[in-house]
């Protein structure tokens, strides 16, 4: 089989059919809004604030200079080698960003800057593949503006990391950003309000963001886009306030406020027309939970002309007799895509991708082995995100990801041999995260390590299906694919019986030798909430430290980041009688900080 470039360059070259008159009208509306904002701004107050900030910056620089001057030579050398340690001072009340970039020591700061440049270079190159619709999307969608801060997202996810850990984090997040950037360009290009490329739209199969992407590996001539991933799901990790308008819109429409913010935000995005109008068809899904199941009827109502296939896998997935049902559903989905797009399923392409996926899974297992030892190496938000993205979205489709796995593995093994510390001097407690993390605090595990030395070795959402997928027998391959889909992120644990999330927790605690469980409590997640008492009962019997952290997934107004941190601060001080590694991180204000 001829080597195919990924993603197919043709997708970016398809002709746009922009309605320039409509763009002009939209631009005029945006300008009117901007003019209104300019007119209504209290400029005196604005410049007064800027003046105060400048003064504050000057005072901060003077203070930092004084502190450095007061350091002993040994301390200065340590600063040059390992960087600063009072990370809470980087935050300032009322700011959307940190006051400056983190100083990580000479070598790591230089490396960090190189990666910063590499990231910007990649983003510019990707967007230049079809620049006009991509930039024009910022005039249509407010979420697009949040992506301008993606490099800041990288910074906060690597905060406090040094050496090999920093290198691995950069490698992994680069691949995610590349995927996001390419998909943003395609979304802008296909959107009927924007690029309106009918040629591209014939090739686009939209997926519910909660549906794994592996099926599309069998359609190399098509492009599968997890529809709400960019406008809703991922952007809410970058900008904590993105989903607030979606949630408000759908709750005003009548949706109860107790539903999970993921489907609520998806539906809210439909209500305020924040999703691009595009694609040849849509694959909806019943995964991972009841709320997500129901969001599809909102989608069907907003885009009634878009043919929909409902992919609905059995919930009791451990019952072997249900796998056949899942297989039939996949076959139905393949047939649907073939009928709508005219494309043909390619077993060769599918098997090639799944061989890569199997290889990637083998690398993943290697990471787990290292992290289970006394010298864990690959921890932190970038790894957690990468694992989920690779498992759910990439799924072996992109051949460029394999070299990343190899590079990361090499760095990890060398670091392990040298017994490095990913968070230098901060490796105090071994922790595990259970249940779903807050999107608006994607780097919470990063804070746990930097503030209290609680190092999250693994998250529940990473511990998914690791059986190598069949790559020769077609029937068995479909069965394996069904098994894989049934064990998607979150669903693997919260569906199919309590054993998958309760008994499994104790098994994993033992395997990873953890002492602290960060038990997230998404206040709207009924699958987890209904096991609260059992988890408490059994945890007491087993003697682990379990810290319940309430959050509202995508709505920081219900439970703020600060409240989440306070739960840990309280527990560490009162129960563990511990002292923070970095006291400046115990209490700081980041209510509107991205």
């Amino acid at each position: 089989m001829a080597k195919v470039k990924y993603p197919n360059p043709k997708f970016f070259r398809y002709k746009d059919n922009m309605d320039w008159k409509a763009q002009g009208e939209n631009l005029k509306e945006v300008l009117d809004i901007s003019m209104g904002m300019i007119k209504k701004t209290d400029w005196k107050k604005f410049f007064g604030r800027q003046k105060d900030l400048l003064k504050d910056d000057a005072a901060r620089v003077a203070r930092e200079f004084k502190e450095i001057m007061a350091m002993s030579t040994e301390e200065k050398l340590d600063l040059l080698k390992y960087g600063e340690k009072k990370l809470g001072l980087l935050y300032r009340k009322g700011d959307m960003t940190t006051v400056r970039r983190e100083f990580r020591g000479l070598a790591d700061t230089a490396y960090d800057f190189k990666e910063w440049l590499r990231m910007w270079g990649m983003l510019l190159m990707t967007f230049s593949k079809d620049l006009v619709p991509a930039l024009n999307a910022t005039f249509h969608y407010r979420w697009m503006m949040s992506y301008m801060c993606c490099v800041g997202f990288m910074d906060k996810n690597t905060m406090g990391q040094r050496g090999s850990a920093l290198k691995m984090s950069h490698l992994m997040i680069y691949d995610i950003f590349r995927y996001v950037a390419e998909n943003l360009v395609l979304l802008a290009k296909g959107d009927k309000k924007n690029g309106n490329s009918s040629e591209l739209n014939k090739k686009v199969v939209l997926f519910d963001e909660m549906t794994m992407g592996q099926i599309m590996a069998g359609f190399p001539d098509l492009v599968g886009i997890p529809y709400q991933l960019m406008p809703v799901f991922l952007v809410s990790e970058i900008d904590q306030l993105t989903c607030v308008p979606y949630i408000d819109a759908v709750e005003s429409f009548g949706l109860p406020a107790d539903t999970c913010p993921v489907p609520s935000s998806e539906c809210g995005a439909l209500v305020i027309d924040a999703l691009p109008h595009m694609g040849s068809c849509f694959i909806s899904s019943s995964m991972p939970c009841d709320g997500s199941t129901m969001a599809s009827s909102y989608m069907q109502r907003r885009f009634p002309e878009l043919p929909v296939y409902h992919l609905t896998f059995p919930v009791r997935y451990e019952y072997e007799e249900t796998v056949e049902d899942g297989k039939n559903d996949i076959l139905g989905c393949i047939k649907f895509v073939e009928e709508i797009t005219g494309a043909k399923w390619s077993w060769d392409a599918y098997f090639a991708a799944m061989k890569r996926f199997n290889e990637e899974t083998a690398y993943e297992l290697q990471k787990w082995e290292v992290n289970k030892t006394a010298y864990p190496q690959i921890i932190g938000p970038c790894y957690e995100l990468f694992r989920k993205w690779n498992y759910e979205m990439d799924g072996g489709a992109d051949p460029r990801v394999i070299p990343t796995f190899k590079k990361v593995n090499d760095i990890m093994m060398k670091a392990y041999e040298r017994k490095e510390e990913p968070w230098v001097g901060k490796m105090k407690y071994r922790g595990i995260v259970w249940s779903c993390p807050a999107h608006y605090y994607a780097n919470f595990s990063n804070w746990l390590a930097n503030c209290w030395g609680v190092d999250i070795l693994v998250e529940m959402e990473s511990l998914n299906f690791t059986k190598p997928l069949e790559t020769e027998d077609k029937d068995e391959a479909l069965m394996d694919l069904a098994r894989l889909y049934e064990r998607m992120v979150m669903r693997r644990h919260t569906n199919g019986g309590y054993q998958n999330v309760v008994d499994e927790l104790w098994r994993q605690c033992e395997a990873w030798n953890v002492e602290i469980i960060i038990m997230y409590q998404n206040v709207a997640c009924k699958n987890m909430a209904t096991l609260q008492g059992i988890l408490d009962d059994q945890c007491r019997d087993k003697g682990y430290h379990m810290i319940w952290i309430e959050h509202d997934l995508m709505d920081p107004r219900t439970v703020s980041r600060k409240t989440m941190r306070d739960k840990v601060n309280e527990y560490m001080r009162t129960v563990m009688k511990a002292e923070p590694v970095d006291p400046t991180l115990c209490d700081f204000d980041d209510d509107i900080c991205l």
Binding site: L255, T259, H310, T312, V315, E321, D325, G332, L531
Partner: protein, 401 residues
């Protein structure tokens, strides 16, 4: 209207899951199998010596212990059942037929197992997987679940006959109950019906919670009584409403609406009669189990079915029932914290109002609604709005000056 002869008896039967008729059936060697969801074909629980008891938790008070286990923002129905189970209220059961259809109810079943809430030696809790759409392959999967996870378990644990013959016999008895309830339901279409919504709710509920064989004579007698019952000369109701929504086993909810002046004429909710009390027509060409599974899949109005045709079916059914039963408006209700009906209610109440032209009241409610002053106020306001619409319509047609 003159009171129905057995109404108080029926009301008393609903005071406890373990009621007089359940006790009688047990004393005669019957085996009680509890269930909560329409996805479990009721007829399959009535084979041989078994009889079905659709679980309720009447007179629920505090649900604090269940709230400890399942937290406070989850389905109150599931929590009320768990609380009753912890209190020992379901010791009479010989088995629980669970479905993994909605997560919160599934957790109720799981707690039953984890906390070992029934100490009978052969007691079982079975979990079955349910389809989300109606396709040939999902029908096969559904049937397989019923064979393996329900009938197979009943046979193994209780030693009962689950043969084709036993199933057909159960359907026959089931159909007798359904025929009576359907005939009574038809009476609700009259301009001045001989039965109130509350009375029908009670009648229908006892058919779910009592052994069919033992409740049948009472139902037959009540049907005859209704045939000759004289309605009030001046109807006391100012409007007619259809109810559509999630699980509802609380006759006081219906009573609360009727106390505000609206006659409840249709019950399109889980535990209601549409669906639930349709006769199952069996042919001799196909195994009974296939036909039963198909029947339940096709008539189901559960919001969990997400395929487009089922979504449309639900809207059409609500519209059809409201028209057939001459409703003036529709009340969309959901058990608070129910995800399926939360999404469904928000969207469909809007669709029914803006596209199908129905006056709609959209509410979420606690498990026990009677004490809710808020609901009472909302029902009052809705009834008044329906009344005003009727007056305006009549004025427009020249009926009232």
């Amino acid at each position: 209207m003159k009171d129905l002869k057995h109404l108080i008896y029926f009301e008393n039967l609903l005071e406890n899951p373990d009621n007089e008729l359940v006790e009688q059936a047990k004393a005669e060697g019957g085996l009680a199998v509890g269930y909560t969801c329409f996805h479990i074909p009721e007829v399959l629980l009535n084979v041989d010596k078994c009889f079905s008891v659709r679980l309720r938790a009447p007179r629920t008070g505090s649900i604090d212990i269940a709230t400890y286990y399942m937290s406070n923002y989850t389905c109150e129905f599931a929590r009320a059942l768990l609380e009753r189970g912890i209190e020992g209220g379901y010791q009479f059961l010989d088995g629980l037929a669970g479905v993994d259809a909605c997560s919160m109810m599934n957790r109720f079943y799981e707690h039953f197992e984890i906390l070992k809430l029934n100490d009978k030696e052969n007691f079982f809790v079975t979990h079955t997987d349910m389809p989300y759409k109606v396709e040939d392959f999902t029908l096969r999967a559904y049937k397989k679940q019923m064979e393996i996870r329900l009938l197979g378990v009943m046979k193994e644990k209780l030693g009962v006959d689950v043969s084709e013959e036993a199933i057909r016999k159960a359907v026959e008895e089931h159909n007798r109950v359904c025929a009576i309830i359907s005939e009574i339901a038809e009476m609700r279409k009259a301009d001045n019906p001989v039965i109130t919504g509350y009375e029908f709710h009670i009648l229908n509920l006892v058919t779910y919670t009592c052994p069919k064989r033992l409740i049948l004579p009472y139902l037959e007698e009540t049907l005859e009584e209704l045939k000759s019952r004289k309605p009030d000369k001046t109807p006391r109701f100012r409007a007619r409403v259809a109810i559509v929504g999630s699980e509802m086993d609380d006759p006081d909810f219906t009573k609360l609406i009727e106390e505000q002046g609206a006659l409840v004429v249709s019950d399109r909710y889980c535990f209601g009669s549409t669906p639930g009390r349709e006769v199952i027509e069996l042919n001799d060409d196909e195994p009974a189990l296939d036909q039963i599974c198909r029947h339940y899949m096709e008539v189901s109005e559960c919001a969990r079915y997400i395929s487009d045709e089922k979504v449309q079916q639900r809207r059409n059914t609500a519209d059809r029932l409201a028209k057939e039963y001459k409703a003036d408006g529709i009340i969309y209700e959901q058990m608070k914290f129910c995800d399926f009906w939360g999404f469904e209610r928000a969207l469909v109440s809007y669709v029914m109002s803006t596209e199908m032209g129905w006056p709609v009241l959209s509410i979420d409610r606690p498990y026990n609604a009677k004490a809710s002053g808020q609901l009472r106020t909302r029902f009052q306001a809705f009834v008044e709005s329906l009344e005003i619409k009727k007056i305006q319509k009549a004025q427009k047609n020249g009926g009232i000056n």
